[in-house]
């Protein structure tokens, strides 16, 4: 969503005010605070074979990374990782479809809009564990087996959908409806208008929603734990590991996750840049020229 942020760029010929240096320092300190412990776990993930979860380092090794990929009786990280990826992908797609539709729907006044809005806010602020508890309890009452793509998926949607909806409000607010009116005037059907005009213009924002939903799902713990049934997602597996024993394997997982995050962000940014290039070149057709 970062790319969707506009900003105010004062003329670069002007001298920086003192507040710039003060705030830049604050920002730097915040980054140190943010990355300090992360860097510690990156380093400790290369801990030697006999080392523990704290300093000092006892030599260096890649044994903890190897252990991540080796299932044992404690945890099966590769399997739970695959489940997390699959679940996050499904959540991401559903969140995009549902929240984009709803974001477009909220542009008009309609009866029940206020009720639905507050329902979304309530779903967002509901203490996470309670959502999973409620859904788990509901499945139990109905006699349905809780599962990854039923109850856990539902529990995560109660979290990603309000986020997606709010992000879409921001995206839709910046959207100039004159493009749609122009499409109408040129005789486009509702479907053509949606596919050739509205969605392409909203695409960068939609990609942001997809990425956000994926991350929220991939990292979700508290909502999922009571609704997941017998198959753990990665965060649940990590949690199980913490409760049983602590070893630098966890840190290796953190290092790998960060690497993966960088990869996902990189791919998304490249995608957005690609779209902007194509747009600049006008290959999306005569519909979008800006």
């Amino acid at each position: 969503m970062a790319t969707a942020l506009g900003g105010h760029a004062p003329g670069s010929d002007k001298a920086r005010p003192w507040t710039f240096y003060a705030l830049a320092t604050l920002f730097g300190v915040y980054l140190l605070f943010l990355y300090g412990p992360m860097i510690v776990i990156y380093i400790l993930s290369f801990q030697g074979e006999n080392g523990g979860v704290t300093f000092p380092m006892v030599g260096t090794s890649l044994v903890w990374f190897k252990n991540v990929f080796r299932p044992d009786q404690m945890a099966n990280i590769p399997a739970s990782f695959e489940r997390s990826l699959a679940l996050a992908s499904v959540v991401s797609v559903l969140t995009v479809v549902i929240s984009v539709a709803a974001g477009l729907g909220f542009r008009r006044r309609f009866p029940g809009a206020a009720a639905l809005f507050y329902l979304a806010v309530a779903s967002l602020v509901m203490p996470s564990l309670l959502v999973g508890f409620g859904i788990g309890l509901g499945f139990q009452v109905l006699g349905i087996q809780a599962g990854l793509f039923t109850s856990a998926l539902g529990a995560q949607l109660t979290w990603t959908l309000p986020f997606g909806l709010f992000a879409m409000f921001a995206v839709v607010n910046r959207f100039n409806r004159a493009y749609e009116e122009a499409a109408n005037d040129l005789g486009a059907s509702a479907a053509q208008r949606l596919v050739y005009v509205t969605l392409p213009i909203l695409l960068p924002g939609i990609l942001g929603v997809a990425m956000g939903a994926f991350t929220l799902s991939y990292d979700e713990y508290a909502r999922t734990t009571l609704a997941v049934g017998s198959e753990n997602t990665l965060p649940l597996e990590i949690y199980a590991l913490i409760s049983s024993q602590t070893s630098p394997v966890l840190f290796a997982v953190g290092t790998l996750t960060t690497g993966l995050s960088f990869a996902i962000i990189g791919v998304t940014l490249l995608g957005i840049r690609h779209i902007q290039r194509r747009r600049a070149a006008g290959t999306l057709g005569p519909y979008i020229t800006s």
């Binding site: 970062a2 942020l5 506009g6 900003g7 105010h8 760029a9 004062p10 710039f20 705030l23 920002f27 605070f33 943010l34 300090g36 412990p37 992360m38 510690v40 776990i41 979860v53 704290t54 479809v97 549902i98 539709a101 709803a102 477009l104 729907g105 909220f106 008009r108 029940g112 809009a113 639905l116 329902l119 806010v121 309530a122 602020v125 509901m126 203490p127 996470s128 564990l129 309670l130 508890f133 409620g134 309890l137 509901g138 009452v141 539902g154 529990a155 949607l157 109660t158 959908l161 709010f166 607010n173 991350t215 991939y218 990292d219 965060p235 840190f251 953190g254 996750t257 960060t258 995050s261």
Partner: protein
């Protein structure tokens, strides 16, 4: 092949010709567009919440749960001194963390939006803030253990720099550690909405304020803060409710010294005592709803967002 193609074409033409006859009222189109969202939220959020309400009045013993309409679960909960203590403790954490993340989040957003000059730089800096957010919250929480511990990185740095002579003990497994972890986890929830609100401020307004002789401070207090209040309200909502609903951070970082509302609840759930757990949940929901209602009273988030 050709006949079916031409038949399809005729069909398409007919559909297009007929289209105006099927035109729905605008509100009905909106209904169709929001119906999947409404369905998911009603089935997966509203109904389970109603289920809590019902079950919270049920009776239970060691072997099962019995439909009933008794207030015992609520009475037991509300007359236990531990309940009040846990709520006060969580509320204290929430207020402290809210105040820190608000100030920090506001100034970081201010820096990103008003001081960074190029869009590219802004994106890069924003991503730098967001990347740790993508690592599991559990891992980010336990990352503080080797950092803050007695032999941790922070103490070693301070000792090497001769700032302190002995390692500090209060850093880990304390309220301090809990607050540090919360701030680490949740500041971005404040930065995002506030930056979004600030990005919408028309630069002409700031110029007008400067031309009218306002100092930087006055511009911030009288122009930027009022125009960012939606973002401030949304960020506050998120931070407050995340802290109130947390149990992992308190459990891990306080070293068992502090309790949280949800940890008591989770113990009851594990013991299959669903009626008292539901009563506990309902009290927490009402508490959070009052907090959220107060914030929404100050700022009409809906009016600002759905314009």
């Amino acid at each position: 092949m050709t006949t079916s193609d031409s038949a399809a074409e005729v069909g398409r033409e007919r559909r297009q010709l007929k289209l105006p006859a099927f035109r729905l009222a605008p509100y009905a189109v909106s209904w169709l567009q929001v119906s999947p969202l409404a369905l998911v939220l009603v089935v997966l959020f509203a109904l389970p919440t109603i289920l809590f309400l019902v079950v919270s009045f049920f009776d239970y013993d060691r072997t099962g749960i019995y439909p009933a309409f008794i207030f015992d679960n609520y009475r037991d909960l509300l007359t236990t001194p531990a309940t009040i203590r846990v709520y006060l403790s969580s509320l204290r954490f929430a207020v402290i963390v809210w105040a820190i993340t608000l100030v920090l989040g506001f100034f970081i957003a201010h820096f990103l939006i008003f001081h960074v000059r190029t869009g590219m730089m802004r994106t890069v800096l924003f991503l730098l803030c967001a990347i740790p957010f993508l690592t599991s919250g559990i891992i980010r929480t336990i990352a503080w253990v080797p950092f803050l511990g007695r032999n941790g990185a922070f103490n070693q740095i301070l000792v090497k720099l001769n700032v302190i002579s002995h390692p500090l003990d209060f850093l880990l497994f304390s309220d301090f550690a809990v607050i540090v972890t919360y701030v680490h986890l949740f500041t971005l929830l404040m930065v995002g909405p506030i930056a979004n609100a600030m990005a919408k401020i028309d630069p002409a307004l700031l110029e007008a304020a400067r031309d009218a002789g306002a100092s930087r401070w006055r511009t911030m207090v009288d122009v930027i803060i009022p125009l960012s209040k939606t973002g401030i309200a949304l960020g506050s909502l998120l931070v407050f409710t995340q802290v109130m609903g947390d149990y992992f951070v308190v459990k891990t970082m306080s070293g068992g010294q502090s309790a949280s509302i949800v940890s008591a609840l989770s113990t009851e759930i594990q013991a299959m005592q669903f009626p008292p757990a539901s009563a506990n949940a309902m009290v927490l929901i009402v508490f959070v709803a009052i907090l959220v209602g107060c914030i929404m009273r100050v700022v009409d988030v809906r009016k600002e967002l759905v314009s």
